[in-house]
Structure formats: structure tokens, C-alpha cells
């Protein structure tokens, strides 16, 4: 039996639950070689064992890493580079929601660190590997919440007047601006293409982790009308794999169909400014690993 992805390699962050796990399953079913990344070593072991058993056609490995720390992201990229000759697809899926302001060990607001800087840094560190594949994709999971995003350049992380939901929207806006700037840097006709995905409203637990009771309730009511993680993942897997999309000019997609994001998400000046800011915020790891972003 022929498997569609048997020649392909993928890295998926946030791959132990929700959309990331569903995407990992679909790629594993297609015989891919994949590395899943998760925060909990225990859940990583479970997922690796289960997927390897259910899909013997695939080569599944999980690496635990806490993407809120830049040093951990650097170590993860090193481990990935040591175990893969080339990379056909990177799925920046890991995301978090925090109700209260919290700062990572690097002094960065947690959502800004996990939802935006982690994809930025991991992508830049893995770019040499992506460029070794004949045609590669970087897919970053954004969301329609990007429409509430307004980046205040004096305080892009909202440290001074924190609101968890607005800060989340800002990071999802940043995901699209990052994708825009990355494609501009890669140039037209590049072998590596970047897309941002709107998964739609998906039944996951993102709004339940460490939030007050009332916010939990609101999220439970909202997600009741959502689609399953499997449905959401199908569209994202298409963005990672469908050869027909290699030259598609659109950058924002929902269920494998192009979609127009908010005008702010397509502002090339904002995209460049965000890129420079992000490169400065990740300068430690980028310089330590000789990568120019």
C-alpha cells in the first residue's frame, strides 16, 4: 500500500492535544516521518507510543519542550536538526491563553512568548532544514481573534494594561504579520512558503487552563458550537502538504480555502516592524546559534 506522506518529514508544536494532535494523527496515518513537540514529557511519551502503535507506517517521535523559554526553543531546534536531514513542513500550532499577566523566565509576557515569539524563533532556527526540502511549508495557527488585535508599539505585550483576550488577539495578529514578513524575505517562487491558518472555533481546552470560573464557563458555552479538532486539522494538513498551494499568493486560510484577514494583518510596514522587534527579542538565541533573522 502506498502512503501519501511516506517521503515527508514534519514538525508539529503543541502536538499532544487538540488541533496539533489531530494533525499529527492525520500525517501519521499518511505514513509521514514526524516530530511532535509538547510541554509535558508524560503526554509526549503517551502520544509517541500510541501513534507509533496505531500507525506503523509512520515514524513518530515526540520531544518535550516548554516553548515559553527561548533557551528551550534553541535546544529543541538543535535536537530536531540533529535527527532530520530536511524538513517538509513546520506546523506552529502550540498556543496558550492566560487570564492574568505573567512573565516568562526571559521577562516576556507569556502569550506573546508562546503564541508569537516561539513560532518566530523556531521557524528561523529551522529555516536551513526547511530549505533543504524540495518544497516546504511553514504553517502558523492564527485565529479570527486577530481582528481584535491592535499592536501598540509602545507596549506590544500589553504589560502595562493587560487584558488576556486582547493580548491573545494581538498574538494572533502577530502570527499573520509574521507570515507576511517571512514570505517577503523568502521571495517569490521560493521553495519554502508560509501560511497562516484560521482553524475556526474548535472544541479544545485552550480557554480552560488557569482561568477564573466565569471565563471557563464562557469558553465552555462558546466551544459547544465549535467544530472538532479533526475537522480543523484536515484543513491545516492540506496547507502543509497540498502541492497545488505552493504558488498560491494568499497567506490566510480557513479549511484550506483562502480568506481575507483584517486589513491590519496585511500591513507590510507593521510586518517589518514586528519582525525587527521579534528579532531583537530573540537576539540571544539567534546569535548563539549563528542565525540571522
Amino acid at each position: 500500500m502506498q502512503y501519501p506522506y511516506s517521503e515527508k518529514t514534519f514538525v508539529i508544536t503543541g502536538a499532544t492535544s487538540g488541533i496539533g494532535l489531530a494533525a499529527a494523527e492525520q500525517l501519521a496515518q499518511g505514513g509521514a516521518r514526524l516530530i511532535g513537540v509538547g510541554r509535558s514529557p508524560g503526554r509526549c511519551r503517551e502520544c509517541e507510543q500510541r501513534l507509533s502503535t496505531v500507525y506503523p507506517q509512520a515514524a513518530v517521535r515526540y520531544l518535550p519542550a516548554d516553548l515559553s523559554g527561548q533557551r528551550e526553543i534553541g535546544q529543541l531546534a538543535e535536537q530536531i536538526a540533529a535527527s532530520l536531514p530536511a524538513l517538509d513542513g513546520l506546523l506552529n500550532n502550540a498556543g496558550t491563553f492566560t487570564y492574568w499577566l505573567s512573565l516568562t523566565p526571559d521577562g516576556v509576557e507569556t502569550q506573546w512568548a508562546v503564541n508569537h515569539l516561539a513560532p518566530f524563533l523556531l521557524t528561523n532556527l529551522l529555516l536551513p532544514l526547511l530549505q533543504r526540502a524540495p518544497a516546504a511549508r511553514v504553517v502558523t495557527v492564527s485565529s479570527d481573534s486577530h481582528a481584535t488585535g491592535r499592536l501598540d508599539w509602545d507596549d506590544p505585550q500589553m504589560r502595562r494594561h493587560y487584558n488576556g483576550l486582547l493580548a491573545y488577539g494581538n498574538t494572533k495578529l502577530a502570527n499573520i504579520l509574521f507570515t507576511l514578513a517571512l514570505n517577503r524575505r523568502l521571495g517569490e517562487g521560493a521553495r519554502v512558503r508560509a501560511f497562516a491558518a484560521d482553524p475556526g472555533l474548535v472544541k479544545t481546552d485552550i480557554g480552560l487552563k488557569g482561568t477564573p470560573a466565569i471565563a471557563n464557563l464562557v469558553w465552555k458555552l462558546r466551544r459547544a458550537g465549535g467544530i472538532s479538532a479533526e475537522q480543523a486539522a484536515a484543513g491545516i494538513v492540506a496547507l502543509l502538504c497540498d502541492p497545488a498551494l505552493q504558488t498560491a499568493p494568499q497567506i490566510y486560510w480557513k479549511h484550506a480555502q483562502p480568506k481575507t484577514p483584517a486589513a491590519r494583518a496585511l500591513d507590510p510596514l507593521a510586518a517589518e516592524r514586528l519582525w525587527d522587534l521579534s528579532a531583537r527579542m530573540c537576539a540571544g538565541q539567534l546569535e548563539a546559534r549563528n542565525v540571522a533573522a
Binding site: L101, P105, G107, D155, A283, G284
Partner: protein, 280 residues
């Protein structure tokens, strides 16, 4: 708020104690984002260096670090030796601890630790740093007291009293150092959601915990503005200012009774019955 431009090498520093903790980190980031050069101290060198690296890269400021247990006299002396020759224009005394629980349940070591860090540590830092102040500019001191400083507080008896000490000390010192061109600002926040334990503690207080809570980033920002204006007391949040006003009007016995009821309740909701000590 901007300060006059001074050549880089001559710029004096801001000292922050407890800089790797929740509130201290928020202060360190806020100061760095304003372009201020820093000297950070906390217990753990690795967390300090990690934060310092990120601040240097993100905000192009100079950051020195030194790991030190400020509750130990010997360690403090080593720190003061280390900073000899440096000049400072601000001191943020953020380091502090609380061991919540009934007094008679606590070990004498836990009780001593509160006094040694919150009081001895803060006072000696203030004394040493006044001697290292930059003579060419106003010297700003920020002490972290607490909303707990305004009334006696069962279940946090030692902690609240140590914060009362810092509040009164700050107000008195402020008058003494006025002629040196220095100011002292006492920050009196309610609980802040900086750690998982704190978030649980806030949740255990119910809606009152929720609405009296201010994020550490906001607190750091408005405290620094207040310190630059030389204000005496900063209480983040309108409701918290009302709590303070109310506790000033009530007799101490009644205030302690009311506060005690609230804390005992929260203490029990967290599964910590009287007779069972909890360290925060």
C-alpha cells in the same frame, strides 16, 4: 518618563532586589523598557542571568547581576562589597516573603525568615544604597509594603506586621532623606497573580480577591511614575484605596476581626485547616 541624557559609562544604576520573582521581574522589565541600566539581585544566579540576557538584547540596557540571600547578614555584606564604587539613582526593595498560616502552627525558622528578609534585608539594603547614591540626581527608594500594612491581619500576623513596619519606616525615612534629595515611596498592593499559588489564593478569596487584584505590569508602571514624582504611598486600584480608607476608620479590634474572618475562610477553602501550616 525620560531622564536627561548622560554618557553611557557614567549612567548610574537602578538596584532591584527580588528581581527574578513575579513582581520583581515586572519591575525589571518596566525599568529596562524605559532605558534604565540595572543591577539585579535575587537568590538564583541562573534565573537572574537569563532575565538579564533578555533585557540587554530587547532593550539595549546594561544589566549587572549578583545572586544573594538578603536574609543573611554575611551574604548582604558580600553584595555591598560587590557594589562598592558603583553609583545608583534608585533602589527598588522588592524582595520579601510570606508564610501564610496560624502563628502557633509555624516553625520559628519560618517566622524568623519573614523578619530577616522583609525587615532586616530591606533596612540594610536601604542603608547601604543611600551611601552609593548618585550625588548628581534625586535618589528614589521604593519599598514594597502591602495592603496588609493597614490593619492587623490574622493568619498573616507576622507578615502583615512586617509590612506595617516597612510602611511606617518608609514614611519616617522620607522626611529624614528629603534634604539629601532623596524620596521614599511605599507600594501597598493587594495580592498579585504572579505565581500559581498566588492565583489559587486569589481564587480562594472569591469575587473580592478577583476585583482587588491588579496585574504586576500595571503595578510596576504606575509605581515607577509615582516614585519619580516622589509620592509617599501607592495603592493600586480604586477599591483597594477604599479598603485602606475603611481600615483607617475602623477600630483595630473590629478591623482584625473582619479581616480574620475573610482570611480564615480563604485559608480553609484552600484546604488548609487551622492546625496545618502552609508556606507560600
Amino acid at each position: 518618563m525620560s531622564r536627561p541624557e548622560t554618557p553611557r559609562a557614567q549612567r548610574s544604576l537602578v538596584m532591584i532586589s527580588g528581581a527574578a520573582g513575579g513582581l520583581g521581574k515586572a519591575f525589571a522589565v518596566e525599568c529596562a523598557s524605559r532605558g534604565w541600566d540595572l543591577f539585579l539581585t535575587d537568590l538564583n544566579l541562573e534565573s537572574l542571568e537569563r532575565l538579564a540576557c533578555a533585557l540587554r538584547a530587547s532593550y539595549a540596557v546594561r544589566v549587572q547581576t549578583y545572586a544573594c540571600d538578603l536574609s543573611e547578614a554575611g551574604a548582604r555584606a558580600a553584595l555591598f562589597e560587590q557594589i562598592r564604587g558603583l553609583r545608583f539613582w534608585a533602589l527598588l526593595n522588592i524582595a520579601g516573603i510570606d508564610h501564610e498560616g496560624l502563628f502557633y502552627d509555624q516553625s520559628s525558622a519560618a517566622i524568623r525568615a519573614i523578619i530577616r528578609l522583609n525587615i532586616e534585608g530591606t533596612l540594610e539594603m536601604t542603608h547601604a544604597l543611600l551611601a552609593c547614591r548618585d550625588p548628581l540626581q534625586p535618589f528614589r527608594i521604593v519599598n514594597v509594603a502591602s495592603l496588609a500594612a493597614f490593619s492587623p491581619m490574622p493568619v498573616k500576623a507576622t507578615y502583615a506586621a512586617s509590612k506595617r513596619f516597612l510602611l511606617d519606616f518608609s514614611i519616617a525615612l522620607r522626611e529624614e532623606v528629603r534634604e539629601l534629595g532623596a524620596t521614599v515611596t511605599a507600594l501597598c498592593p493587594a495580592g498579585m497573580p504572579t505565581t500559581r499559588e498566588n492565583i489559587e489564593a486569589i481564587a480562594a478569596q472569591g469575587w473580592l480577591g478577583q476585583v482587588t487584584t491588579a496585574d504586576a505590569g500595571l503595578v510596576a508602571n504606575l509605581t515607577l511614575d509615582a516614585a519619580l514624582r516622589g509620592e509617599m504611598i501607592v495603592i493600586p486600584g480604586l477599591l483597594n484605596r477604599l479598603v485602606r480608607a475603611a481600615s483607617a476608620l475602623l477600630p483595630a479590634t473590629l478591623a482584625a476581626r473582619l479581616v480574620g474572618r475573610r482570611w480564615m475562610g480563604a485559608h480553609q477553602r484552600r484546604g488548609l485547616r487551622p492546625g496545618q501550616a502552609a508556606a507560600q
